[in-house]
Amino acid sequence: MANLFELKNVTKKFHGVPALSNVNFDLRSGEVHSLLGENGAGKSTLTKILAGVHEATDGEVLFEGEHCRFSNPAEALRNGIAMVFQETSLVPSLTVAQNIYLGNEKFLNRLRGIYIAAQQFLQSLNFPVDPTMYVSQLGAAQKQMVEIARAVHHNARVIIFDEPTATLTPEEKHHFFALVKRLKQSGVSIVFISHALEEALSISDRITILRDGQHVITDDASAFDRDKIISAMVGRSLSDELYGHAGDTRKARPYGRKVLSAQNLSMGSIVRNNSLSIYEGQITGIFGLIGSGRTETAKIISGVVKRDFFHGGEVRFNDKPVRYRVPRKAVRDGIVYVTEDRKLEGFFETKSIAENIYTGLLGADLNKSMTVSYSEMMTLADEWTKKLNVKAIDSSAKVIELSGGNQQKVVIAKALVQKPKLIIFDEPTRGVDVGAIAELHQVINELADSGMAVVVISSYLPEILNLADRILVSRQGRVVEEFSMEDATEEKIMYAAVH
């Protein structure tokens, strides 16, 4: 196969700091090429050079054998290169259909016609999204589907998927991989970035691994296995440490006092008569497919959203009924929710690490001084960046400049400064590299060991199995099954989640 794209000794520097150093990369026509590496390895930078978001500082970029330099993504798109961004680039105030057709509008547009066409197009991709809904009303997974649909709709010759499956359910992933195969058969080249190594191994023709902005290896996918990829990514084997056989020797933490009891919670058709209990000194894992109501239940508990006005059920925290209208009151009582969508709800991207962590303290009214204290803010930031091993130049670095794993650590630090009694992690390792996953898992385990009640909501079964002391399975808006650590298997959990 001929090389469609070729990068030769490409270097990209931000403020003099190299994000990529002399990287070589080539993409053949009609292949699926996975780009793997830890967060901060340079995958996103490389793909953004391909898609015209960034320009290379040094080196050559060849497209169909000719030098090219796209000045913006629109130009790249005109040349048939589309990118599905990790952070969605949809317009929230437009509908799904309008977003799909954005940039392809005719002079006169009939909205109904767009909706019908979008409906048919989404159905052909097996994406269950209502084209008339506003994007702001969609969940993270559905936004990702629209993003993918938009890229496919542009008839691109190269599609770059940056973590496309992170928010998808197993069934949706299945549809997505079928779509990738269809695109490949029609001659589209695909660059696939994912932290789910099994996915990369199963759908890729070739795999390239980057580490610290440098090219490590490119080879056929058949030449790799999970351990080989991980050792190439991080320079050591983390497989067992993360999701390996540690669970065989792990012992479930005993039940502590019941901290929270949610009884017959209801919120529209999403949460339906849901009841569960959370105990201190334990990690309660909640597994469920997207739309099973697990995130919404957590948000009701923590005051992010409100339950039904009439007969919405009851939440008892430390044996007292509570009803939070805003998260602030929940935070003051000791309930903290760490969001699944950190970019939208987790931090202020234009603020520094220190400012973000300090806002957590302000939100809980735990600041020592009456006014904002710079010294208190910096002391706090230093303490927590050290505790959670946040890798940044200093605490004044902007959060948006950090890798996904470090951003997540900042979000967790922001939550932990609020001194929670119950902390709910929603997809804590989504979009986080394997090295940082191990660190985050350690943090979560330490919190439970210290006696805190910890809830982990995750769509990734190995993570739930590795972390949780008890596993609740959510389906159709309610908890339908509970497994002890010893009883739980991937098959049993998935069966309960689906049937």
């Binding site: 105990y279 007969h311 009851e314 044996d319």
Partner: protein, 364 residues
Amino acid sequence: MIGSLKSRLDQFLGRGQAAVTVPSLDGALKPNNRLDEALAGIKGEAPDNLVLWNGQVLWSEGAQIFSGPEKTLFAQMQSDVTALAAIKDGNLVVALSEGGLQMLDGTGQQVKTLAGSEISCVTALEFIAPEKLVIAIGSTENSINEWARDLLEQRSSGQLLMLDLVSGQSNVIAQNLAYPSGLLQTPFGALIVSEAWTSRIVKIDIGSGEKTPVMEDLPAYPGRICRSKDAGYWICMFAPRSPLIEFVLREPVYRKEMMAEVDPEFWIAPALRSGYSFHEPMQGGALKQMGILKPWAPTRSYGLVIEVDERFVPVRSFHSRAGGKRHGITSALPQNDLLWVTSKGGQETFSINLGTDVIDGGNV
């Protein structure tokens, strides 16, 4: 005034007291079938209270007291026995349904009348000193057989009395209790009491009578309590709470009419046994299909014994679910590796081998 307005608003919105919610059976209370799986026990007519007396297990059944695996008759009383307590000198105190307390000797013969019919509806007895007996009186308004009426009338007329066996004098330790149905002295001297109608366990100071809740919002009505081997406690839950019953408990006019017009056994109220008549009130889902009642069906009766540690944190639990038979657990008693249990609803006294049960994450 504000409280009354809030109560009205809660009734309208289905919040607070009117939320009609029941905590879920999860965690250490995750349902299992351990009570039904235990080996066949000793059949009887409504076995009730167990007591360890001179190294052997005694239990009451109606007006009789039995002992041992051969079910040897130990004593025959004039009326139904409602509570038992063993004295260290080898005697036994027996509370009767028609009122009064009797003391029996080692042969089962009556040696003394400790109290007359002024003391009735005794649910539990506990010696806090060789001569000091604490008596839990479930209700001063209703008899012990009318416990469901007491719940539906929302009474809180229970009392704890301390009786001095030497002088015969009694004094009230605590009153206005919502059906105290279990009683035990902690190693620190305070009393642990099951307050059934408020679904909680409270610690009561003997001197001041001050109540401190130690377990609240239980998913069933707590009954008798006994010590476990590991410094904790076994708590018997004699009937389950259910959203339907919680709803009825918030509808005074309906309850009044129901109690006036319907036979007590068919009231929408918790029961020690259920599913024996098609006249019984039934919730959707409790329909038998192909002769089988689903274990998760809504039910008026249930079998549940919970082991809690010294901090009253549940450690493990034994269940007989909706489809099971061993409902209405009124008493439990550990002896060596066995836990003796009376299922008043299932009409059986049986034992569970604790030696083969491993406590691990609350699951057995």
